[in-house]
Every structure is written in C-alpha cells, then in structure tokens.
Symmetry: C2
Subunit: 312 residues, 2 copies
Amino acid sequence: MKILVVGSVAYDSVETPEGKRESQLGGSASYFSVSASHFTEVGMVGVVGKDFRDEDLRMYESHGIDISGLNVVDGRTFRWSGDYLQDINTAVTHETQLNVFAEFAPSLSEKHAAAPFLFLANIEPSLQLRVLEEMSSRPKLVACDTMNLWIDIARPSLAELISKVDILTINEGEARQFTDEEHLPSAAAELLKTGPSTVVIKRGEYGAALFSDKFNFAAPAYPLAKVVDPTGAGDSFAGGFMGYIAATGDTSEEGLRRGAIVGSTMASFAVESFGLERIRSLSREDIEERFKAFVELTRFQPIDGSNGLPLR
Amino acid sequence: MKILVVGSVAYDSVETPEGKRESQLGGSASYFSVSASHFTEVGMVGVVGKDFRDEDLRMYESHGIDISGLNVVDGRTFRWSGDYLQDINTAVTHETQLNVFAEFAPSLSEKHAAAPFLFLANIEPSLQLRVLEEMSSRPKLVACDTMNLWIDIARPSLAELISKVDILTINEGEARQFTDEEHLPSAAAELLKTGPSTVVIKRGEYGAALFSDKFNFAAPAYPLAKVVDPTGAGDSFAGGFMGYIAATGDTSEEGLRRGAIVGSTMASFAVESFGLERIRSLSREDIEERFKAFVELTRFQPIDGSNGLPLR
C-alpha cells in the first residue's frame, strides 16, 4: 500500500441545478481514494455505521482500495445534505449528522502506519493529528486538507497540524480566512511560513495554484460544458495529485507540477456527474485523453533562440 | 502603422488600498496604445479637451504612438473617478464626466482607415461601429471590448458590433450578463454563435480564457505580491495581445495563444503601479523576463512515448 488516507465516509443528499440525489456515497476519503486508486494502491481509514451498503464496500474493493481500516460500528453512517442551487461553486448545508463520526478514534494497523504517503482528508484536526502521530515513521510526504468550520472552532489544533505537514491543500476562501490576507499570493506566503513546503490553493472553476518557496504553478480548471455536482471536486483533485506522486515517488518540483494537472484532470471528471458516478467508472484512456486536453489548454510557444518576442 | 485603436482618453481620479491619485492619465485607448507600442506601431483615435496636458501628448509620442487622430477640442477631457477600496477587483464609480466625449464623432484619416489591425476599445458601441464602417477595407483582424453599461443601455448596437468583429474581449461578469448563461463555457459558446471567431473572457486575478470553435486556451494571471491599481488591466491585456498579433501578423491559433500570454504579461505590469506608470517605462528585458515567468508558471511534462501516466 502506497498511500493512506483518513477522512470522512458519508451518505450525502444533494441538490444541484441538474437534479438531486438521496443518500449517495460521498465523504472526503471516498472521493480521495477512488480518485487515487486509478494511479496507486490506497488504504482508507474511517468509520461507517451498520447502515452502510455492501455494494459500496464492494465498489471500494473493486478499485483495489484496502478497506481494512474502515470500521463498521453500531449506529448510522455520517450524513450530509445540502444544495448548490444559488451558486454552483458554494454548497449551502441543510444538515450535518456526525452519527458514528462523533465517537471516531482512528487507530492504524502496522501496515497502514508504515505507508510512505499520507493524506489527511478533511475531518476534525485533532483526528488528523492523531493519525499523523500513529505513523510508525515519518512518511515521505504528508498532505492535509481542511474546511472553514475548523478554522472557526478548532484553530489551535488546525495550526498545529498545518505546521507538521509537507503540503496543505486549502480553498481560496479558507486561505483568506485563515491568514486574514485578502490577496492570494500573500495568503500563500503566510501559510508557507507556518510549516508546509507547498501550499495548493483550490479555486473551484478557476483551477488550482501551487505556491512554494522555489516555484509557483497555475493549473487551470477544465472548461466543462456543464457542472453537474461539485461535491468532492477538491478531494478528487487531491486523490489525483497525491495518487500520481505516490505512484511515481516523484516529490520533485516536476512531480508536483504534473501531479497538479493529474489532480485537475480527476476533479474535472468528478463534477461531471453526481457523486462518484464518473470517477469510479473511468478508463485509462479517459484519463489520458483528459490529461492531454490540459496540455492543449495550456500550451504556448516559449521564447527560444529563434523565436523571441517582437519587441521594439 | 500596424494597428489602429479607438477608445477613451481620460483623466482618472482613483483610490485603492495602496493610495490615491488625482487626474492621472487613463482611458481605454491610453492603456491599449502604450501597451501595444512595445510591440508595434499604433495609431490612436480619440478626443481630449483643451485641458489635456502637453506632457501626456509627448508621452504618447515618445512611445511612437501616432496621435494624429487624437482631436483636441474646446472643453474638458473625459473624467472618471472611482475606488477599489471594498474589492480590489471591482471599481466603484463615483463620477463619470463625458465632457468632450459627449460630442465625439470619430473620423479617420486615409492612413488610419487602411490599418491592417483594428481594436475598438470600450466606448459607446455606435461609435465603435462607425469606426469599423470608416475603414477603407476590412482589416486582417478586428477586435472589440465593451462594458456592462452598454449591455444595459445600448444592447442592439452592441450586438450588431459583436456580430461584425473577429475577436471579442469581455469581462467574465459581462459575458454572463450578455448571454444570461451562468456557466462560462456556455456563455462563450453563445457569444461565438453571434459572430466572433474567438472570445477572450477576462477574469481579473484569475487570468483570461480564449474560446473558439477550434480550441480553448487558459492564460493564468501572474501571482503578484501586490495589486496597486487594477485600472486599465483589461486594456493593457488587449494591447499586448493585439500588439503581438499585429507585430507578427500571426493570426493563427499559435499566434492567439502566445498573444494571450503577452497580454497577460502586460496586464500584470499594469496593475503593479498607478495608472500608466509601470507600462510606460518597461524595458524589453522587463517584458521578456515576465513572459518567461509565465512559461515557468504554466509548464509541466506532457505525455510522450517514454513518459506516460502511471495508470493502473
């Protein structure tokens, strides 16, 4: 197993301008692992209730995801309901039921504790910290995600977590909220000072931007004719990004750049259908073709010896 | 003269979080021509009042801009005042004084009417149409810009104008407003149906996106540590974009892609200082260096024979 993810596994009820779904499989760990599973072996740590559907467990397994760390306990699976009717980029939460997540205390098997790559998907920061502490040795690369709620109610433990990771993935609005910097490069600079060597700022339909001490990289979003359901786009991005890096072992600047485009590729698929429908049924050809579309979307002729700018 | 621009020449009073300026030289034609002048010979058509400063005329001339079409008439120069205090991306207009622009009726010299490239910068659409009709033959490429005001109060003539240009540059919000399409690729598709072969959607700090029947291209914005004054960013983009295309004569897909990066380069300089301060004092080295920074900002390894994605 190359990459371990801890995060939420949920049943979501969601409504978008394109329709609605009741109790569809979701959660940060679900989107991340299915996305990453196209590239590498993933182990998932989380908790679900007795109501969790067998077919969903089998779907993870069919993607080669190691679910030995997914505890099934008495009670109901975490549930979220919301809509994107006003603004396709912003969820309005109707209800969050923590259910079995209220008592979740992750504990890692020996195999999971030795994973060389670790993604701490969005859950309560103290749980993310606990998983990081349970690792038997420092992974080659640790990344984490978070959400506005934890900035509001758990800032000290979130700040501690961020100080201990290599890569932070965070939404644009959350980066502003956390740093109190309106201007994004300034927010990224503040975040870099607090610990991570790379900050990935997710900008929804505008793509993602990587900031580090050594380089910046801008990954656009793919211009889709229609966004059906934006739920899980960020976690699908992280799954492609970290899945690519874990599969190649390439944590260099080149690896991070290419990983961000793989992440954008996976995010673009995620939002094309409700829930995991699209990213769980992708072929290798689908992924290669969309990656190549990103090459086309961004390429232009650089300056070289015979091809300078026509400057006066 | 390679490219003709018609648009506003103005004295702006502007306040941003970085300071304020009274009566600084501005207007769509000013930003466009100074930006384009780094690449090619520009002719400017517009009108100013008797209060227009000699030093400003000399600044244009020092950039090799042909101001024989800039009429100096009785009255005061167009004036705009506004601020970007609430949101650095959105101007709040305090006052607009049309002054000499109220009676402006552009008329082209023989030389100007034969220009091979034409940019119809933001002014009243019927004036843009009039200039297009005054051209002695169809230019190789015609582009136009506009603003929300004309969508509100002059939609029929704006629609007629758009149907007659090759390239439309338009802000994201205006594209949504004009088409009533919330989703940007859909808005671009609607705009392409109405006439232009390429639509350039300007997204401020998110960069610009080119849409055509044949290809899409995403140009990021340069991640600046500080935006001092966003006034004129769109016109500076257009100046770099059209200036590059006019200088090379390359209206192919490759020319448009590279032109968009040149445009983003010039826009990134424009917002670094108040008014025209930065873009009027750029060296060739400044421009080349920033263009190369865009190469670094966007490059990643594509798929080739020996370098596929690690797909399972």
